[in-house]
Amino acid sequence: MKRVLKDYEPLAGSNAVSQLKQLARDLVGAKVVHVNSTKAGGGVAEILGWLVPLMNDLGLDTSWEIVQGHSEYFQVTKAFHNGLQGNNATLTQRMLEVYEETLTDNANRLRIVLENADFVFIHDPQPAGLLERCNDRSGKWIWRCHIDASHPNRKVWNYLKGKVSAYDASIFSMPDFAQPLVHPQFIIAPSIDPLSDKNCELTETEINNTLQELGIPHDLPILVQISRFDRFKDPIGLIKAFTLLNSSVDARLVLAGGGATDDPEGDAVLEEVKDAAGKNDRIHVLLLPADAHRTINALQRSASIVFQKSTQEGFGLTVTEGMWKGKPVIGGNVGGIRLQVHNHYTGYLVNTPEGAALRARELLRNPVKRERMGLTAQRFVAENFLLTRHLREYLTLMSGLRRGLANYLVAS
């Protein structure tokens, strides 16, 4: 369902919506193009799913394009993704050729719209090479890196740095993720859409029906981790934590996630997770379709604790989602999780399966503390990580870029 800014006033406040309209006056009519690699699955597609219509609602002429490629291309970009996150990655000459050829095909298809745009936002490494193929570009090009690139594989980064250096600016989710570049680097934390199927209020009946359909008995406290089946999300570590926990506290663990069309490793990791879960009937491993947003919402709302036990993480939108639903979060002490989970206030940061088990036990034994943390977490998200703040920062960046990035500007 297409939403407009006015819909967000009850949650974000009329001042927040009014600010967006005032800021956007400076940019009405500007042609804005967002480019990423998938329209379904993953946090980037979700963000663009609301960002693009809301920018249009504010009077900016905004479109969303995706780069198209074969599986070989997505194997290459997955290697980029892993490499940016610090994993070992092999880049062969053939892989680079596949990347370059695919980007040339996409540039030929998208050139007119990209070269005529006032602002082009290129999301993540997959489409990064488009800029050098649009020589007659007239607008500002911004590379938006959603990945924790704080310790990238040098070979991968050196290659991508050559692609992104010519951009007018880049955006990272946290200061820690930024890499030295010749252009200005901005910090914009992601956000959630509180009215989306994934985050809207649900009735108890719908939550219970969802659990029933998924075959999850609601007889014990439920612990939930929602994430793609990716080794950086450490699902095996979480199963180990749950096994430790279950020797002292009865609970169920739900590991649920969808696949993304740009992630070829998902199937293999899913099999590893199923093997690790074995025959434990209290561990529920669910592969959900990419559009199972209400299902995910129901799972998060059914949880006593939300987990995101990642060993590498970009921002961790599933953490934000869990907190928005009033749940304490036990998260890996990495990336953007550290920006959201504040020990003893909104949840706990942990470094090991043992730490995760310890904190889960503490919270399951203390419902008052759990509730207090959940309320703090919800308020924290309401004040900082709703899409109105996110959109405001995009508008501020565009206004700033248009006026030469002086530190102090007056918009008309």
Binding site: Q22, R25, P184, L405, A411
Partner: protein, 232 residues
Amino acid sequence: MGINTEKTNMPFEIKDCALISRMAGIDTAINLRELRERLLICPVECLFHHFSETLIRPTFDDPEYRNDFAIWASRNLRDRVLAERLGIINPYALDSFETLRAVLVDIVDERLSEVPFIPWVEKGEDFRFMRAVTVVFHTHRKLFAPEDLRSQLSRMSLSSIYYHFVEARRRTEDGSDDFTAWLAGFGTGTGVMIDALKGIDFYFLTLFELKRQLISVLERATSAEPTYEKST
């Protein structure tokens, strides 16, 4: 009911602002000596960002200290002594941000002379120097008389209050806030309101708390002001 003022004044244009943080383009500091070196060369906008713009950027609103240097000393360097010395600094009690720079360097020098080794942090915990781009915009709302300030404050956004009450101190020559400067333009009659605004120790408040306190002190001040029926 209105406030009896000596003269009329131009309307007060309520503005608002939005901010986006950016990297300052300065190497990170991994130990206290590096922090000192970077403090000497960083643009004054960095100091403003790490001391004042902490109020307005997305952050957990209950930090131990109000400036990023003190938080880094506490959480990352794990030097509570340094954190407390940095945490007590109120930049608005100083005459400029250049003076603030000198104070910071002095505190760091003092600490370096006390400790047996250079305090350092693990890789990845470096202090990252930031600054911001601020975009200011009109709300197309105006205040015409002093009492309008009291009545309109509750409608102002937190960022608008930040712009007029906090950020203004960087803009104005005498380091005052916009409300005070405007009220002073009415001559005598607004002195109690101005004194009430000056009495707010805002540096340790969140913007939400500041807004609440502004409303509260102005309500008290205006009820104490000599008032008269406004002629039409």
